[in-house]
């Protein structure tokens, strides 16, 4: 038995320090658990300030004891390396562990354990947790807005059809691959617009006319972001090329266009499309609100896309331009076959971020009176039969948006890796 120094745990007294450390650590956690969930304070004899921190102090002391280098025990070494490198780190780690213990059980209780799932009236919600009945009852409204219940299959069919047309690009024979970009930028928007116009909007083929004011919910979010997305990409590309052009008028008009849209908030752009734009049209012309909104968002996001693509264009070495020119390529051939394919590959993450921003911006269309998911939530919240469930609604919408955005960002990271070419 060698000398024991409590301030410097060492390898020689490993079992002792390990035992002491675990006891202290467990005691700290135990103390925290008791005082928080059973309101039993076993250290109440201490002054208030110290008493509050006892769990932290005990657990940190415990971690201090088990901080032994090269102990030979794999788990211990891993713990020390990852969460217990110094006293400061130990304090932070313990704080986070305690925070999780403090926050997780009530959260789980509210979300799942105490929540109500069954039933279809407000009275069914008796537990202390979330009332998911509210979401269940309003689900159709959240998805389709004010679209008549009997007609909702039309929205579903259209979405499936658009998805099929989008996926069709992956299955074309190789010799048609060259025309794929044309398909996505020109043909697909036309097809989708026709589908939406004839099926969702209706009015012909025996389908009832549903005005755009009744569209809403998550399906509207998708529609607005889908169209803005496919239109803003080619426009942004043109603007990016225009901005790098050496023709002064083209360059400066692109530049001022980009800077203008980037300098104003989207909400004012939507205001403009709602109240100011009709003033700029000939007397008696009426453009549908939804189309105005899509155009406004497209112009707005195109400016951001343009800046991202410009970044890619600038990142290409001059040699690429020179090489293309030396082969006798003109401006358009050079850009289409040499520059843009490489530049676009570089800007995949940036483009994905812009699209994510676009999706996250769509709730703003409430300004012009279109109610997508978040707008519908605010409408449902004020329904006198269902007062007091705003929290459930926001959590629900938050989860949906989070899943969409998170999966998109992960997908873009995959794309980035896939198309990465070494230079």
């Amino acid at each position: 038995m060698t000398k024991i120094n409590l301030l410097k745990p060492d390898n020689n007294n490993l079992p002792l320090f390990l035992g002491l450390g675990v006891v202290f650590f467990v005691f700290g956690i135990f103390d925290f658990y008791l005082s928080n969930f059973l309101s039993l304070n076993i250290t109440s004899f201490l002054p208030r300030v110290i008493n509050f921190f006892t769990p932290l102090i005990f657990a940190v002391i415990g971690l201090h004891f088990i901080r032994i280098e090269f102990s030979g025990i794999k788990i211990l070494d891993n713990i020390n390396k990852n969460i217990n490198t110094s006293n400061f780190n130990a304090i932070l780690s313990v704080s986070i562990i305690l925070l999780i213990i403090f926050g997780l059980p009530p959260l789980l209780n509210w979300l799942i354990l105490d929540a109500n799932f069954a039933g279809d009236t407000k009275e069914a919600c008796t537990g202390g947790g979330a009332c998911w009945v509210y979401i269940k009852v309003w689900f159709n409204r959240f998805m389709y807005g004010m679209y008549p219940n009997a007609e909702q299959w039309r929205v579903n069919i259209t979405f499936i059809a658009v998805l099929v047309f989008m996926a069709a690009g992956f299955f074309v024979p190789t010799r048609l691959k060259n025309y794929l970009s044309l398909y996505y930028t020109i043909l697909l928007p036309i097809i989708s617009f026709a589908l939406i116009y004839y099926i969702i909007s209706g009015g012909s083929f025996g389908l009832v006319w549903v005005e755009t004011g009744a569209w809403g919910g998550l399906s509207l979010t998708f529609m607005v972001s889908f169209f803005s997305l496919i239109f803003c990409f080619p426009l942004g590309m043109m603007l990016a090329l225009g901005r790098r052009s050496n023709l002064p008028i083209v360059k400066y008009s692109s530049l001022s266009f980009i800077e203008f849209w980037r300098g104003v908030p989207l909400i004012t752009v939507l205001f403009m499309s709602a109240v100011m734009f009709p003033m700029f049209l000939p007397e008696g012309t009426y453009i549908d609100k939804l189309i105005r909104v899509v155009v406004a968002i497209t112009l707005f996001e195109a400016a951001y896309t343009a800046e991202v693509i410009r970044g890619g264009l600038q990142a290409l070495p001059r040699g690429q331009y020179d090489a293309a020119k030396s082969l006798g390529m003109g401006y358009w051939r050079m850009h289409v076959f040499v520059i843009l394919p490489q530049a676009l590959k570089l800007v995949i993450p940036g483009i994905a971020n812009t699209f994510l921003a676009l999706i996250k911006d769509t709730p703003l269309i409430f300004v012009v009176g279109l109610l997508e998911l978040v707008g519908m939530l605010n409408l449902a919240k004020t329904n006198p039969k269902w007062l007091g469930f705003s929290m459930e609604g926001y959590v629900f919408a938050g989860i949906i948006f989070w899943i969409i955005c998170y999966s998109m960002s992960k997908y873009s990271q995959n794309l980035e890796l896939k198309y990465k070419t070494d230079r």
Binding site: N82, N89, L247, P265, F271, P278, M279, E283, F366, C405
Partner: protein, 381 residues
């Protein structure tokens, strides 16, 4: 060859002229039929609407121009608070992302992934309609730190009451000027002698002691006005005195801060990671201490990477503060493009002024940042 250069430009010009011409013509016609005349004279007429929260004197008898100023100041207030808080939080989380501690690292990245993937508007609604509505009514609110109350109607905190505030303020400015010259002197001295003066310590001492002296000599005095609860009617209570921060401002600042900080954190992380390991090792090998390595070698280089995208985030935050309109915080958009426009019906002028204001702020900040970027850029040969 000439034609190839002139033709596209001519076409662009023609397109722009056509679009603008078409719009102006229609606008003129529409204004005429509605009996409106384009002009900014309405700014000097009486606004006759109230604004809930204002930094300057305002009531219904003031002009529209004044209402515009109130809205602008409210926007700038949110942006200012938001930028400071988001920078602090973002820097902290960004550093935490690189921590050797597994738990810290994961917590930081969880926070980032969580908050950046939820629409800002949804977050604002969440804080305002769900979280802050769960706070107690004024009569049930517990006292925080023996002075403040966090209630459903907002945060009530003690308000400072100054006597001779101007003396105090001038002293602070003088202290700053002294510190500035002292720092320059210390640097010069270090270059001559090679010994560092404890600049930070002395600066702090000056900054604290000089203003404190004014309490003794300058006749400056500070007392606090505490919020006191008062019954208005049988079931309605309010607070008298103190300083009130409306819940709209709290919700907006919270949401903007938490959302923007995630982006700033990623910038900070990228900036620090962008510095080669060799830099750190080289600095350590010439005998600099850890804090000196960070301050003199890592940070100056990392900042060069961090600042440009972070400026963009500041601009985004300022522009996003216009979402205030959704929860009725009286910012520029709500006051001017909302209420004022409803009353006057002057869509073109008002939306134009609002956009021009944001445009000025954005372009102003980006010009400033371009200048700053040029100044700190590495001088390559």
């Amino acid at each position: 060859m000439k034609l190839k250069k002139i033709l596209p430009q001519l076409l662009t010009l023609l397109f722009i002229i056509l679009v603008f011409g078409f719009f102006t013509m229609n606008a003129q016609e529409n204004m005429e039929t509605r009996g409106l005349e384009f002009g900014f004279g309405f700014l000097n007429t009486q606004a006759s609407f109230d604004i809930q929260f204002s930094l300057i004197d305002y009531d219904g008898s003031h002009t529209y121009a004044r209402a515009y100023l109130v809205g602008l100041l409210n926007t700038l207030l949110v942006a200012f608070i938001g930028i400071i808080l988001a920078t602090l939080l973002g820097a902290l989380v960004g550093v935490a992302r690189l921590s050797p501690n597994y738990l810290i690292r994961k917590t930081a990245s969880f926070y980032i992934e969580f908050f950046r993937n939820i629409p800002l508007l949804l977050q604002i609604f969440f804080w305002y309609f769900a979280a802050l509505r769960a706070l107690p009514m004024p009569e049930d609110a517990p006292m925080i730190l023996n002075s403040s109350f966090m209630t459903i109607k907002g945060l009530y905190s003690p308000a400072p009451i100054w006597t001779n505030f101007d003396v105090f303020f001038i002293t602070i400015i003088i202290a700053m000027i002294i510190i500035f010259f002292f720092a320059r002197y210390a640097k010069k001295k270090q270059e001559q002698v090679g010994k560092r003066l404890p600049v930070l310590l002395i600066s702090l001492a000056i900054f604290i002691s000089l203003p404190l002296l004014t309490f003794l000599i300058g006749g400056v005095d500070l007392s606090w006005s505490f919020p006191v609860i008062r019954q208005m009617s049988a079931s309605s209570y309010t607070f008298d005195g103190g300083f009130k921060i409306p819940p709209e401002l709290i919700a907006l600042t919270l949401a903007l801060t938490l959302y923007t900080a995630t982006f700033i954190a990623e910038n900070v992380r990228a900036g620090i990671q962008g510095i080669g390991k060799g830099q750190k090792e080289a600095a350590a090998s010439i005998g600099l201490t850890t804090s000196q390595v960070l301050k003199l070698v890592i940070m100056p280089q990392a900042l060069r990477i961090i600042i440009p995208p972070t400026t963009n985030q500041y601009l985004n935050l300022t522009k996003n503060s216009s979402l205030a309109a959704a929860i009725a915080y009286p910012d520029l958009v709500l006051v001017f493009a909302g209420t004022a426009m409803m009353q006057t019906g002057r869509a073109i002028e008002i939306v134009g002024i609002t956009m021009a204001t944001y445009l000025t702020i954005s372009l102003g900040i980006s010009l400033l940042m371009n200048w700053y970027n040029k100044r700190i850029a590495i001088q390559e040969k």
